[in-house]
């Protein structure tokens, strides 16, 4: 019998079509392993219909909308499948809004949004492919968006 590399999950979330090499960044923004004790499977550089991709499977956890937005920031082509009893019950194609609020910190340490002020970080999306965002306050573009995710 052929052994599966990763078995289907009963309940949880499958994040598919992640940009190859970005699976670990997805885990980073979802604060895994700190935020879950369930089984998490990672597949990297899987051959898909549209070329290589990464896949992340998280058992017993359904992602909330804010987490979906965060994933959009690092894997803008990802699809997210919510699985219940081995069936896909919801499918989201992540879509980046034109403005990203409160999801990622500005990488400029002297930006006022990093000071003790009553504001959330705020970025304009200036390009979706390739992804480029610009801080609303200091007008800088972070080089590594995943690094700053809150």
């Amino acid at each position: 019998m052929k052994e599966l590399k990763v078995t289907p999950i009963k309940d949880g979330t499958v994040i598919d079509h992640i940009t190859p090499g970005h699976a670990l960044k997805v885990l980073h923004v979802l604060k895994i392993p700190e935020s879950t004790s369930s089984v998490v499977s990672i597949l990297m550089n899987v051959n898909g219909k549209k070329g290589k991709k990464d896949i992340v499977k998280i058992e017993n956890r359904e992602l909330d909308p804010k987490e979906l937005d965060k994933i959009a920031l690092i894997a803008p082509k990802a699809t997210i499948n919510i699985i219940r009893d081995y069936e896909v019950v919801k499918k989201h194609i992540v879509e980046l809004p034109n403005e990203v609020v409160g999801l990622t910190k500005c990488s400029n340490p002297t930006c006022i949004s990093n000071a003790r002020e009553p504001v959330e970080s705020r970025f304009h999306v200036i390009s979706k492919d390739p992804l480029r965002i610009k801080c609303y306050y200091c007008e800088r573009e972070p080089e590594d968006i995943a690094e700053g995710i809150i």
Partner: protein, 310 residues
């Protein structure tokens, strides 16, 4: 065109037509700026000048602009005596200043501070420099200086010289000069080159800037030489500063190779980058440039406070 209650945060918030309008109005302010004529246009108006960082020209010219228009100024030039030192947030300081004044001008060491101030203020906010970020009124007065001396901005060969990496003035100016289709040459030490994103912005306007470290060659064709100081306070590392300070100098020997009508500009203060012997030449425009801050800031204050036009 209506500028009433408009915040002046970044030159990028303005279209070419709006900048033209402001510069045209600034020209009409000159006789009031040099006290040939008098006005009470902004009588009973109060400007709050919040300078969290040292400033000479910008602060004095904003204060002078408000007084020349018949208005009043409150504020501070040093945050050491304010609630900021007790840990007050900028947002709270702005809420307070907003209730005491009709407009706020702010200089702050952190990038984005003026944008944040505008969020918490009902009255219009003018950015007088936010760290290494934007300084839109400096940019407008630089454009005004080139326009008044050269009659147009388009097509002039402008050389930006000095610290092009950390200098906030040159970033906004490169953007604005590209908007007006000037020809740009960037001259700097290798470690202080113009950031890629600024060059890309210039290219978006169809301008192809030339980057070089050869000042002698660049100056021969130039119509405008814009010199900047290497700003010690912006360097994250003292070693890096020591390596580049004094790496270029504009003096009369260099200027012998320049066109007769080359103008030399500098946002000031200068330290060693322009020899004082240049001051007496017809090329030296930097003190007139500093004066030009006055009519430009008068025009802006008048427009955003909705004073009847002069």
């Amino acid at each position: 065109m209506n500028f009433k209650n408009r915040d002046i945060i970044s030159i990028k918030d303005f279209s070419k037509e709006e900048i033209d309008y402001i510069l045209d109005y600034a020209k009409r302010m000159i006789p009031y700026a040099n006290a040939e004529k008098h006005t009470t246009l902004l009588n009973q108006h109060i400007l709050a000048a919040l300078f969290f960082e040292p400033s000479t020209r910008t602060r004095l010219s904003f204060e002078s602009a408000m007084h020349r228009l018949g208005g009043n100024v409150i504020g501070f030039a040093d945050p050491s005596g304010t609630s900021q030192k007790k840990g007050e947030s900028l947002a709270d300081t702005i809420r307070m200043a907003d209730s005491y004044s009709d407009a706020i001008v702010i200089r702050h060491p952190q990038e984005g501070a003026a944008r944040l101030a505008a969020e918490f203020s009902e009255v219009p906010v003018l950015n007088a420099g936010d760290g290494a970020g934007q300084h839109p009124t400096q940019c407008l007065l630089d454009l005004f200086t080139i326009l008044t001396e050269k009659k147009k901005i388009k097509g002039n060969k402008v050389v930006l010289l000095g610290d092009l990496k950390y200098g906030r003035t040159v970033h906004s100016l490169a953007y604005a000069l590209s908007l007006f289709k000037a020809d740009l040459t960037f001259v700097s030490p290798e470690t202080l080159k113009m950031p890629k994103e600024v060059i890309n912005e210039c290219k978006e306007f169809g301008v192809e800037p030339v980057s070089t470290s050869n000042l002698e060659k660049a100056i021969k064709e130039a119509d405008v030489l814009y010199v900047t100081r290497i700003q010690k306070e912006r360097f994250p590392d003292a070693e890096e500063y020591n390596r580049v300070v004094g790496s270029y100098k504009v003096d009369n020997t260099l200027l012998q190779q320049a066109k007769q009508d080359l103008i030399v500009m500098h946002p000031l203060p200068r330290v060693v980058e322009i020899d004082p012997e240049v001051d007496k030449t017809k090329h030296a425009l930097y003190f007139k440039q500093a004066f030009n801050g006055l009519p430009v800031r008068m025009a802006l204050l008048s427009l955003i406070l909705g004073g009847k036009k002069l």
